[in-house]
């Protein structure tokens, strides 16, 4: 069992963590944070995501978490309607928190803030989709009260 699991959680944060909408100048910090946690730098991908989500569309949200002026987390989502027959709902596509501030409540702040924006946009449900072996992130979403929903994702390899 990992050492982290058998040690007590860290003490409460001593620095303020703040959440705000992402700005264009946050792009490189988000790319770096994603690369820190995934091992892959995806500048072109995130540039495209910034254009789509960080604009002024009322149903798309790209929020970042800051500590002392530095971006240490982000969450991205939007309201989508009628896909898979579903009424409008908030979808979270990405969330990430720097290892340096984990277990200090930033993920919860980001989640709460995007949910508040989803509610303002007129929806009463939030969903996400993630790999079955992404245990840490799935554990986070479950800690926020999320449970298995009515959909099952299916796939197959295409014939050559």
């Amino acid at each position: 069992m990992a050492h982290q699991r058998t040690t007590a959680p860290p003490p409460p944060p001593v620095v303020e963590l703040r959440v705000r909408p992402a700005k264009g100048e946050d792009l490189r910090a988000v790319v770096a944070l994603d690369a820190e946690n995934t091992g892959v730098s995806k500048l072109a991908y995130w540039k495209d995501r910034f254009e789509w989500y960080a604009g002024r569309q009322p149903d798309r949200f790209f929020l970042v978490g800051e500590r002392e002026g530095h971006v240490v987390g982000y969450i991205v989502g939007e309201v989508r309607a009628w896909e898979f027959g579903s009424p409008p709902a908030g979808w979270i596509f990405a969330i990430d928190v720097s290892r340096t501030v984990r277990q200090h409540g930033l993920g919860t702040k980001l989640f709460d803030e995007i949910c508040a924006r989803f509610r303002k946009a007129g929806v009463d449900r939030v969903r996400t989709m993630l790999a079955k072996d992404e245990h840490l992130i799935m554990s986070f979403f479950r800690s926020q009260g999320m449970m298995g929903g009515p959909f099952i994702q299916l796939e197959k390899e295409l014939d050559p």
Binding site: A2, T7, P9, D133, M138, S139, R142, S143, G145, G148
Partner: protein, 157 residues
Amino acid sequence: MRLQIATRLALYAVLQLAADPEKQFAAAEIAERFGISVNHLAKVLRALGRAGLVEAVRGAGGGYRFRGNVKRVTLLDVIQLFEDLGTSAHGDPDPGERSAEGRALRRVLDEIDGIAKGTLASISLATAVKLMDGAGAAGPGEAAERAARPLRARTGA
């Protein structure tokens, strides 16, 4: 998925202790609540102690208390201390499993197992404690108080 008795006892005990990590419970107290023998529970608690999830507190008022990170230890971590949740690839195949029918059934069962393991691995003890009182509806203290109530009172029996 059907869990062995020892596994379920371990989960019950860990959840009761994790609901209030500062408090210690006597093995007899936990055993009485779930209607099991203290000896059986003691074996389970020893296994949990070896894994670093609980510790025995000696002396007057002693007992067991949770020792770990309730936000990081998952239901799967506890279950895997007591049983092997591997697929048929580990161990001897069941009769007929190598037939086309057996392989087809195995694919379906493996998919179900994968979903079950993914679910168990994603539910931390902190989340499970919340579920004991309804998601997000109670703090750890309330959950512990609820966990300590006799089972018959909660079931209405």
